[in-house]
Amino acid sequence: MDETTESIEVSETPDEKRHVPVWVIVTAFAVLLAFLGLIYWGLTHAKQGPVSLGQKVPGFDLVTFDGQQISTDDLAGKVVVVNFWASWCTPCESEAAAMEQAWQMYKPGGQVVFLGVDYVDTEPEAMGYLQKYNISYPNGPDLRTSISQLFRIRGVPETYILDADGHLASIQIGPFQSLDEIVSTIEGVLQSQ
């Protein structure tokens, strides 16, 4: 800068020549860090798959279509099969009959409980679906999508099996191909306890 600037500087306020105050610098970087932290969290969160095997799954409540309230805390000591489905989901239908058959197999033993969680569905269609496949195990809507968010599902159908201690023992993304597959998976969980 040459000499001519000096004469104009008279009109400049004295603030201009001071150093940037430390609190401004700290705040600026803190805000940037907070923002980057948020984005990073969003990134890792988006990349997360479903709940991982071995993790303890927090208890949740399911209000069935019949009005019954079931809490998984009450089911401690039993193996819980949580199946996410929807009436508008075609692949779900391919496993529906097998699921009911499996339930009939394990119902007398009392060790395994089947829970059906209806994911963002409408009641009339859901009831129609249940009737069509004669599903008798408890089913309820996933209110506010809180249960599906708990398991971080990506779509339907997905089935999560919790062992007697409430840890996640098995994940099935997509429909089961056959009754045998369902049974062997559940047997696997029962054996490993």
């Binding site: 001519t4 104009i8 508008w88 963002v120 409408t122 209110l143 506010r144």
Partner: protein, 177 residues
């Protein structure tokens, strides 16, 4: 002279903007016709509400244009609720309860969500504050800069420009040789 009393400026600016924003929400909301509780609400009645909701499974697609089977079911559900005589707000609440807050086009006003609505006002206030600082600086620097020659740039840049032109002309001369 043209200086305004900065206090008066800010008070009036603030009042105007508050008035504008208050009336804003009402005016900008597209008027929804009151739902008729006839046994068969028309597609338009359904769409009027569906437009304000998002498809619970698709990515950012409004419910009235979504073409999947699921969305058709949800629109039918709206129709059913309308036939039962539910109001628009009740239908929205129902969807929120069943499908999560995500389906509404704006965050419902409770808890942390208030931040969404308050921050723009905060930004506005910050803007006014910046303006205030600048006006104060203007007032303080009542330097006798000649107001009759508004279009002339400041002395430094003009000199710089002139010097640069001289340099340029000299160089061109050299190159021509």
């Amino acid at each position: 002279m043209g200086f305004f009393n900065s206090k008066a400026v800010f008070s009036s600016l603030f009042l105007v903007m508050v008035a504008v924003s208050l009336v804003n929400s009402a005016a900008l909301a597209q008027a929804t016709p009151p739902p008729q509780s006839t046994p068969s609400p028309s597609a338009d009645d359904i769409n009027a509400i569906a437009r304000q909701l998002y498809c619970p499974v698709c990515e950012n697609i409004p419910l009235d244009v979504c073409e999947t089977t699921a969305c058709e079911q949800w629109r039918a559900l709206i129709g059913q609720l309308l036939a039962e005589g539910k109001s628009e707000q009740q239908i929205k609440d129902y969807f929120m309860l069943n499908y999560g807050d995500r389906v509404l086009a704006e965050p419902p006003r409770y808890g942390l969500n208030w931040l969404v609505y308050i921050l723009p006002v905060v930004f506005f206030v910050i803007g006014i504050f910046i303006l205030y600082r600048v006006l104060r600086q203007m007032r303080r620097a009542k330097a006798p800069v000649n107001p009759q020659i508004p279009d002339k740039p400041s002395g430094v840049t003009q000199e710089d420009t002139y010097l640069a032109r001289v340099e340029e002309a000299l160089r061109e001369r050299k190159e021509r040789k």
